[in-house]
């Protein structure tokens, strides 16, 4: 639907007003809505702004220290990441660990990977992450008497335990 005011841009702001008991709908584009000074918030908050906002929430650190906090490999500063929402290299996950973990908790509700490894790679910590999660899940499904699912989970637990023992014996400690 096009904006009812300029008849040009697609309408993205939809107003519903009650006038003398009657419902009235108006559809406007971002630009025309802004001109009207309506008390609304733009829906098109970019992902970057959102990530930046999430990271700044509850943090009192000054912007200056964000600028000084720089990754030695790619040269990105924390301030730059906050404004673009994109990392410069894999190393940033380690360099800005504190911020990363807070952000991941907010975005994903978790801070640890679980799942398979890239083909040909062995990693005890990843197996252990999954194991812990599955053990919790097993308790829950047993309580809920979902025995079929419990059996599947038990099989995977046994498999993981075997993988962990096997990797410990053969690799003498997983890669870091």
């Amino acid at each position: 639907m096009r904006c009812q005011k300029c008849n040009k841009n697609p309408s993205t702001v939809h107003l519903t007003e009650m006038k003398s008991g009657e419902r009235q709908e108006t559809h406007l584009c971002e630009e025309c809505a802004r001109k009207l000074n309506l008390p609304y918030k733009s829906q098109t908050l970019s992902l970057n702004e959102l990530l930046g906002a999430l990271m700044d929430k509850g943090q009192k650190k000054s912007k200056a220290s964000d600028k000084r906090n720089v990754c030695p490999e790619c040269g990105i500063s924390l301030a730059e990441f906050k404004s673009t929402g994109r990392f410069g290299c894999p190393n940033d996950y380690r360099v800005f660990k504190e911020h990363v973990e807070k952000l991941l908790k907010k975005v994903h509700g978790a801070t640890r990977y679980i799942g398979q490894l890239p083909r040909g790679r062995i990693s005890v910590p990843v197996y252990e992450n999954e194991l812990t999660k599955l053990q919790d899940k097993l308790q829950k499904v047993i309580k809920a008497e979902e025995y079929e699912e419990a059996a599947t989970i038990r099989d995977r637990i046994l498999e993981l335990e075997e993988l962990i023992t096997h990797s410990r014996e053969h690799s003498g400690g997983a890669e870091g």
Partner: protein
């Protein structure tokens, strides 16, 4: 450079499960390789080196024997537009500059983008609802590629991605649903609310940042960390059928309570499409949506579903210009679009 391959996907065939409502199931994996910075920080020289390296590896991995690679920076805009409309490249990849490319199979169901926001974006599209089938396929491709490349992977966070919203599995599953009855009955908002409560997102026809057109909505997962692909598939497999049932229920109510209203809507849409002499793509999508509803509800029986599905793509500016074999002005496009629709809807039934 011309590019003839990467045809419209088999995913438009109308074959598969739940195709009255589900157009396609799309999965993508975000992957980066070691020893290169992420895309945003690469200088032009490294970007070029990475593109050469990855394109060679992608072909070497032979995920499909007939896989073809094309450099997007060498491709003219029309061909890039076609890839976009076929859902083989993202809007970001279409608009970007610099050395980048895409490899796809002839069926148009596999595509591997090189130098997108991440070094690699692996994508699989299947017709209808095919979560497990799609996962098996993309997982196989990922495994093959992992045998030729060293992915950037970390034990705490999994597959490392340029944007932390993709980290972990790097997996995004999107199911494209056609929900005209829910839109018509204004129940669609309820779906949005329910979906957002279970950490799934709703997007438009062309994915992230695009608007809903023709009553098509994509439901996708938002979370990628702390969950396994099986968890993600499981939650989609629980939620999507609920939305399908909801849409079917409303459709049933439509046909029993307001059959005439429904028939009128469908036949008016067919009337418009079979008679219009100039029509915009936006208007076409709206009418096609009603026609699709009519075809899947057997209100109309002389138009095959595949014809309607195919039209959704063929009336897009890129496809239209490809069919005509030349660049077209927007006004000219509207006329040619109307001609195309008339002939397609006539071929498959009398007018």
């Amino acid at each position: 450079m011309k590019f003839e391959s990467c045809n419209t996907g088999v995913w438009l065939s109308g074959e598969g499960r739940e195709t009255d409502i589900v157009l396609s199931t799309r999965l993508r994996l975000a992957r980066n390789v070691e020893r290169f910075l992420f895309k945003g920080k690469l200088n032009e020289e490294d970007e070029s080196r990475l593109e050469t390296f990855l394109s060679a590896k992608v072909l070497e991995a032979e995920v499909d024997k007939a896989m073809q690679y094309v450099k997007l920076d060498d491709l003219d805009e029309l061909d890039r537009l076609l890839l976009l409309e076929n859902h083989l490249i993202s809007l970001e990849h279409f608009n970007a500059k610099g050395p980048r490319g895409v490899a796809c199979d002839p069926a148009g169901s596999i595509s591997i983008m090189v130098n997108e926001e991440d070094h690699l974006r692996i994508q699989v599209i299947v017709s209808g609802l095919g979560l497990t089938e799609g996962w098996d396929k993309i997982h196989g491709l990922d495994d093959l590629l992992a045998g030729h490349l060293t992915y950037s992977f970390n034990e705490s966070y999994g597959y490392l991605t340029s944007c932390p919203t993709n980290v972990g599995t790097g997996l995004r599953i999107s199911v494209m649903l056609h929900l005209p009855a829910l839109v018509l009955s204004k129940h669609i908002e309820k779906v949005f609310n329910a979906v957002s409560q279970v950490n799934l997102a709703v997007r438009g026809f062309f994915g992230e940042g695009s608007q809903a057109v023709g009553d098509f909505y994509q439901i996708s997962n938002q979370i990628t960390l702390g969950v396994t692909p099986d968890d993600l598939i499981g939650s989609m497999a629980k939620i999507v059928p609920k939305i399908i049932d909801y849409e079917r229920e409303v459709r049933k109510a439509l046909i029993t309570d307001s059959r005439k209203v429904l028939e009128d809507k469908v036949w008016r849409a067919i009337g418009m499409l079979r008679n219009a002499r100039s029509i915009t793509s936006e208007e076409t999508m709206t009418y096609l949506s009603s026609v699709r509803l009519g075809v899947t509800m057997e209100v109309v029986d002389d138009i095959p579903l595949e014809t309607v599905n195919q039209l959704f793509l063929d009336i897009q500016p890129g496809h239209l210009q490809k069919i005509e074999g030349r660049a077209l002005f927007p006004e000219e496009r509207d006329i040619i679009r109307a001609n195309l629709i008339r002939s397609r809807l006539q071929e498959n039934g009398r007018s």
